[in-house]
């Protein structure tokens, strides 16, 4: 069953078409990997899905209903959780409180339930030792981890991950992929933007490649990675 569908969405900044007539569907339980050169419009696509940015044209459907006009928090309640490429923690709150907030509001839980959720996610993401520290004092990578943890705390059905493996060492990335697999096994649908291609390949069921705001390629990972256009434009290898 299709969980998320974008119908011909477009978005421009001034004269620049950042998202150009993109149509895309994600089935429940699937993990979609998004690739594309820097500035192709990947993050913008996330912004359009999460509602942080309004589409200029086109329609966003989620779980069978039109969410194009919904506010970001309404989309979050509907089950879309996101992380930001540039981490956006609630800097003056503790890490634990960051997660409790996400669970209370995004996950629409009571405070006590939220504590449990937060506790669980802290363990899962290895942030337990930082639980009572102000989130603003974390290092870049811990902040990225917090992004993931916070998104998980909203108990999402669809998880949007924007470059969470960047900056991880190889073994660390492997551990991350392991955990994402477990999340996936719980039935969570994911869209993952990542430049660390090998990490992405180890999880994605399908790839979607964007260039200049348009779809360049779509399909099974192996096929897409062998696509000469993708190799040239994205990997920088002559086919």
């Amino acid at each position: 069953m299709t969980l998320l569908a974008l119908h011909a969405v477009s978005k421009s900044y001034g004269a620049l078409k950042v998202t150009d007539d993109i149509t895309l569907a994600v089935t429940e339980g699937e993990t979609l990997g998004i690739l594309g050169p820097n500035g192709a419009g990947k993050t913008t696509l996330f912004n359009l899905i999460s509602g942080d940015v309004r589409v200029d044209a086109g329609r966003v459907e989620y779980a069978g209903r039109d969410v194009t006009r919904l506010k970001p928090h309404q989309r979050c309640h509907a089950g879309i959780g996101r992380s930001y490429q540039v981490p956006q923690p609630f800097g003056n709150m503790s890490v634990f409180e960051n997660l409790v907030t996400a669970a209370c509001f995004g996950g629409q839980q009571t405070e006590r339930e939220a504590w449990r959720t937060a506790h669980e996610v802290l363990e899962q993401t290895g942030l337990m030792a930082h639980a009572n520290k102000p989130a603003g004092g974390l290092t870049l990578l811990d902040r990225k981890r917090l992004e993931l943890a916070r998104a998980l705390s909203t108990r999402p059905q669809l998880l949007l991950l924007d470059e969470i493996a960047g900056g991880l060492t190889e073994p660390e990335a492997a551990v991350l992929v392991g955990e994402l697999k477990r999340i996936k096994a719980r039935g969570v649908t994911m869209i993952w933007i990542e430049h660390v291609v090998h990490a992405l390949l180890s999880l994605a069921d399908r790839l979607f490649v964007i260039n200049f705001g348009q779809k360049l390629a779509e399909g099974l990972p192996r096929a897409v990675m062998n696509d000469p256009e993708v190799r040239r434009v994205y990997m920088g290898m002559e086919a």
Binding site: N38, V86, T139, L140, G166, G167, T169, E170, V233
Partner: protein
């Protein structure tokens, strides 16, 4: 010949918390040295100490034989030490070109100017009059690198240069490195991708919990040595 840059027992603190516990490090002219290490190992802190953003005892850092520890960042950059900061940090209200020109503030003589940069990154020439922050992450990284080059430093310090970059850009940037070092510029990169670090660098320092846990010529170090240096345990090869 004495080293171009060396540190002796360099310690650094954030308030009461110690981040570096005595780093001995040295750099010869024209080298490309990579620093690797797990998240939170102190790599960024080390680079910040070198450039004066984190306080250091005056004698702990010597550049061309002179002590420069704890000097204001402005003085250090005028002496020829430039940094590409973690997370790009472009000036939001300046255009791409103005951002690059900011790098030329110390007014040092050398081969790098706008023309040459635009030749290296043609996309920047295209976007020269756009605000720097409206670029994609990767494009911003190019501006950040270009901005540091514009000061014509003798030593270029790059923090997580490839973070968030598409493979093609990483390739391009590392492809440009030899031409940069060939002109006598010395480069230090912090890199998570160990394979890449070994490929491009002459020597490697591995940091662990604020100390140097391993150093040597890139070609001589084995994968096992490196993973041991990362995590401090020998049997560290399963995921």
């Amino acid at each position: 010949m004495t080293a171009l840059l060396d540190t002796r027992a360099l310690k650094a603190f954030y308030g009461d918390a110690q981040a570096l516990f005595g780093i001995d490090f040295s750099l010869d002219r024209g080298e490309l040295v990579a620093i690797i290490g797990a998240n939170g190992a102190g790599k960024s802190t080390f680079l910040k100490s070198l450039t004066g953003l984190v306080r250091a005892p005056i004698d702990a850092i010597r550049f061309k034989g002179e002590p420069i520890g704890g000097l204001p960042p402005g003085d250090i950059v005028r002496r020829g030490l430039a940094m590409v900061p973690e997370g790009r940090r472009l000036f939001a209200s300046l255009s791409v070109e103005e951002n690059l020109l900011m790098g030329a503030t110390p007014a040092r003589k050398g081969p790098w100017n706008l023309q040459r940069l635009y030749a290296l990154f043609p996309i920047l020439a295209e976007k020269r009059n756009q605000p720097g922050t409206s670029l994609s992450g990767g494009q911003q990284q190019m501006v950040a690198l270009g901005r540091a080059l514009m000061s014509n430093p003798e030593v270029l310090l790059c923090d997580e240069l490839s973070l968030g970059l598409a493979p093609i850009v990483i390739r391009e940037i590392y492809a440009a490195m030899p031409s940069i070092t060939a002109e006598g510029m010395t480069v230090v990169i912090v890199e998570q991708d160990v394979t890449m670090a070994r490929q491009v660098s002459k020597r490697i320092y591995c940091f662990q919990e604020g100390r140097v846990s391993l150093q040597g010529h890139s070609a001589d170090l084995t994968r096992e040595q490196i993973s041991q240096a990362y995590f401090g345990i020998a049997e560290a090869a399963h995921a």
